[in-house]
Symmetry: C2
Subunit: 224 residues, 2 copies
């Protein structure tokens, strides 16, 4: 880690000032700078838990997977966010596991579970920090759950396209129907059918691997 990385740790791990000098050493010693490429699997239910991730750059997607391969995206994290569910093994009240993929090329500071677990057991401020972070994820998941369970699919897909367009600062979304289906927690066939309807209404134009928004007002009207 560089001096800059250590400053990042200090500013994002808000319990830093409550750590003993020895605990600070454990935290720094247990943290390494790592990078992942777009599409990499960072964490899955089958692997050992990778630890706490501080995202320096890039974004990750946290999702669950059914036995028959359906995915539901729970939430995404971006620059400056901390991912705690990748260290669920150290949180005794978290009994489920999730998958985490890199949405773009990513750089993280990764604190291994062993180091984090040790300072968490010794220091109540670290424990409170970790469970509070988990509760933030809980709020994100509840939002996603309400979307998936309660919102009609045209509204959901329109919202996704508008959000993705805002994220990318472009009218064109470079994703296949399969990829979109994964993000919105649906089947490819359902996405394709709805995109064709959007296209027939003049809201979007479709080409191979791209959705181009041609009538933003029309698409927005579906979300109201």
């Amino acid at each position: 880690m560089t001096e800059h990385d250590i400053q990042l740790l200090k500013s994002h791990f808000t319990f830093w000032d409550k750590l003993s000098p020895h605990q600070k050493d454990i935290l720094i010693g247990g943290t390494t700078a790592v990078s992942y490429e777009r599409g990499d699997s960072i964490h899955s239910a089958d692997l050992d838990c990778v630890g706490v991730l501080l995202i320096k750059k890039g974004s990750v997607r946290v999702y669950i997977l059914s036995e028959d391969g359906r995915e539901i995206t729970l939430y995404r994290l971006y620059d400056g966010d901390i991912c705690i569910l990748s260290a669920s093994c150290v949180l005794q009240s978290i009994t489920f596991d999730v998958h985490i993929d890199a949405v773009s090329d990513c750089e993280f500071l990764q604190t291994n579970s062993c180091a984090f677990s040790q300072i968490m057991q010794e220091n109540i401020y670290v424990e409170a920090f970790a469970y509070k972070l988990a509760s933030e994820s809980f709020s994100d998941v509840m939002w996603a759950m309400q979307q998936v369970l309660f919102m009609s699919f045209d509204k959901r897909l329109a919202l996704f396209l508008l959000e993705e367009s805002a994220n990318e600062q472009s009218d064109t979304i470079h994703m296949t129907h399969e990829q979109i289906a994964r993000f919105v927690g649906s089947a490819r066939e359902v996405v394709t059918r709805m995109l064709k309807y959007f296209s027939s209404e003049g809201y979007v134009e479709l080409s191979r691997g791209n959705v181009h928004i041609t009538n933003r007002a029309g698409l927005t009207s579906l979300t109201l």
Copy 2:
């Protein structure tokens, strides 16, 4: 509160020994014994948050409600459990709200949000306790979510009937199809259709407001 109630508080609020004498007074002063009748609404998104509930006796159901009235049960709590989402207003990282109903006649120790918030702000052990409890609910919700989103409905309904039968220690489940639909997060028509199928297979017998399990092994085979 009786002396017995205070002992209950001490044994369930595991941060008790970390409280100052003044904080102990605030906690006791802010807690009252209350009772609710079966079917009562205890907490909803529209009401002020009622505070932390320690369940002395009875059970509650925590659920979300869509704009068009669909319910999804997130989890249930029983004797000795503590409900923290009824005090979500004091947890800044919890940004959603839930509904809570009494499933049976209930007795609680209810610590008002104001008192709980005060000791939580002053005492990091209380904060860690509260967020850890919230994370336990998170785990329950993830389980429910996977059931609703991923599990085929015959399996889900069979599991529900078997669990309910075990809870009530009876082969007969006294619930209408409408009530069952609410618990399993489905529509009444879907429940009715599946129960008729179960009946035609000889797994259950149906009568007004009752489902009687007649072939437990058969029903269990659906859940495997």
